[in-house]
């Protein structure tokens, strides 16, 4: 994002968020944790993907990282600090969660209202963010006048407008068609590269995880814990769909997919682009 400071400008620690020995449970169910023994360093500037079967606790982990819920054990500590212009962390929820009584631009401005006093600055930042997701023409619509995918893009813009140090995204592309999904994946990738934000992306799509991430964290088991952390050594910029054929790609996908084959409590993950997923191949 052009308004962001470039990554060289600021002295930043190597680790942005340190998750140590965390257990998370649903409200009022401390004795039956959803996640246990989760330890993970989110490195400053990395693109981290979290994958795992449905219901395993990916959204729960993301909520905890964003500070919305406190762990029942262990600590999650932000080592980094927010940028002057924005917030430390911004969350893209799994559902778009727009406020129906605000127009598109008002929704994008929502998080800015606490940190940017000037109305016109808020407006400009919201417009910039909307431009990034390709919706600047729809800024005066009501949310109910948008498609599901457009609503999801507004919710991405709402997070981007905060110019966060840490961008947390919970399956933000799952409601989108292939073309829009790819555009937005590239857009997020570009924002991540140029702005130097740290991105944590929850996805159930292994191809998406490999295409975008530096590291892929696999959650599994019950209660869930980290089963594997896979580095993605494929050089950037990454092309598509070529890598499917490439040797390192196939090996990576095979390694990730094996976790789904053994556990798979509630449905195997889908391949990208709605092909029948050749899992384990």
């Amino acid at each position: 994002m052009d308004a962001l400071v470039s990554r060289a400008d600021v002295e930043r620690p190597d680790v942005l968020v340190r998750i140590s020995d965390v257990a998370l449970s649903a409200p009022g169910q401390v004795d039956r944790p959803i996640l246990e023994n989760v330890s993970l360093d989110i490195r400053t500037g990395e693109f981290l993907a979290i994958v795992g079967p449905s219901g395993i606790g990916k959204s729960t982990l993301l909520r905890a990282i964003s500070g919305l819920v406190a762990p029942s054990r262990g600590t999650i500590s932000a080592v980094g600090r927010p940028r002057a212009s924005g917030k430390f962390a911004a969350l893209v929820f799994q559902d778009a969660r727009l406020l129906p009584w605000r127009r598109v631009r008002g929704n994008v401005e929502f998080g800015l209202e606490g940190i940017v006093p000037s109305r016109s600055v808020r407006r400009d930042r919201a417009r910039n963010a909307l431009r990034l997701v390709g919706l600047e023409a729809l800024e005066n619509r009501w949310p109910h006048q948008l498609s599901g995918g457009q609503q999801q893009r507004v919710s991405i813009a709402r997070a981007l407008a905060l110019e966060p140090e840490l961008l947390l995204m919970d399956e933000p592309f799952s409601a989108l068609d292939i073309a829009t999904r790819r555009t937005l994946q590239d857009e997020i990738s570009g924002i991540w590269r140029t702005a130097g934000a740290t991105v944590v992306l929850v996805t159930h799509d292994l191809d998406e995880a490999i295409h975008l991430a530096d590291r892929v964290v696999v959650l599994g088991g019950s209660p869930a814990t980290i089963k594997d952390i896979v580095e993605v050594p494929i050089a950037r910029p990454r092309s598509r769909p070529k890598p499917v054929a490439s040797e390192p790609y196939a090996a990576l996908k095979g390694r990730l997919a094996q976790h789904f084959n053994s556990a798979a409590p509630s449905g195997a993950p889908q391949g990208t682009d709605n092909e029948p997923a050749p899992i384990g191949n």
Binding site: S66, L68, K87, A90, L91, F93, D95, R97, L99, P100, W101, R102, F110, G111, E113, G114, I115, W142, P143, H144, R158, L162
Partner: protein
């Protein structure tokens, strides 16, 4: 029913036609002495009554008198009802403190408060406004309470995630707009309840359309009774239409 048959214009025409037909029927019944005039006054005699009431200045004076305590009573009842409804929805302790009392007081008709209104406020505008406010209050209280409780917790979570989670910020940016459709339907119900309560309030002897109506009914002047019934209906129509318009202005996202 076909789409064409239920189009708004057609339905409007049907309801106007049925009202006119009803009045015509009443007129015929009276003209041909099918029923004694004291039982059902002819619409034309109501029109004559209106002419004389209007020319004597009584009609307008009564309307203005009623409007003054109606407006005060509805405003107070509405604001307090919304305030208490919101507070009980937001603070469980406050709700626990007031819930039992609310259950005791809620079913009591505004008329039952007449003696207390007189004792507390004397016979006058304040007592009348109080009676009206008691009727209006409960409708707003219930509507606001349930609408505020029904606001999506996901949206509250959103407010926390985006730095808008402080109590009053949350109320202003999430709870109030989220509950607004429900709150406004309570306000609308209160506005019509207010006119029902006007009659009760003016039993005190405070001047207004209700008192004039009660006077007329005491001497079986049915033409005057019907005239003031129609007056209340017309006033209700005006306030209800105004509120419908306001609702539309305040909730542009709902259509």
């Amino acid at each position: 029913m076909s789409v064409a048959a239920s189009s708004p214009v057609r339905l409007g025409a049907v309801s106007v036609a049925s009202a006119v037909g009803f009045l015509l029927l009443l007129e015929i019944v009276a003209r041909f002495h099918l029923m004694p005039a004291t039982l059902l006054p002819a619409p034309s005699s109501v029109a004559l009554a209106f002419e004389s009431e209007f020319q004597s200045g009584r009609w307008l004076a009564n309307v203005l008198a009623s409007l003054s305590h109606y407006a005060v009573g509805v405003a107070i009842g509405t604001l307090l009802g919304i305030g208490f409804g919101l507070a009980t929805a937001q603070w469980p302790l406050f709700n626990a403190l007031t819930e039992g009392i609310a259950r005791l007081l809620r079913p009591i008709s505004p008329i039952a408060w007449l003696p207390f209104a007189i004792i507390w406020f004397g016979i006058g505008e304040a007592a009348a406004a109080f009676i009206i406010a008691t009727g209006v209050f409960w409708l707003n209280y219930i509507a606001t309470q349930s609408a505020a409780r029904a606001v999506d917790t996901d949206k509250i979570e959103l407010a926390h995630a985006f730095g808008q989670g402080a109590f009053f910020t949350r109320i202003r940016k999430i709870v109030l707009p989220g509950a607004a459709p429900g709150i406004l339907s309570g306000v609308r119900a209160g506005v019509s309840m207010g006119w029902i309560a006007v009659l009760a309030a003016e039993m005190l002897g405070v001047a207004g359309v209700g008192q004039r109506l009660l006077e007329a009914s005491g001497v079986l002047a049915t033409d005057l009774v019907v005239l003031y019934m129609a007056t209340i209906a017309a006033l209700y129509c005006v306030t209800d239409t105004a509120l419908e318009w306001l609702t539309r202005r305040l909730l542009p996202w709902t259509h």
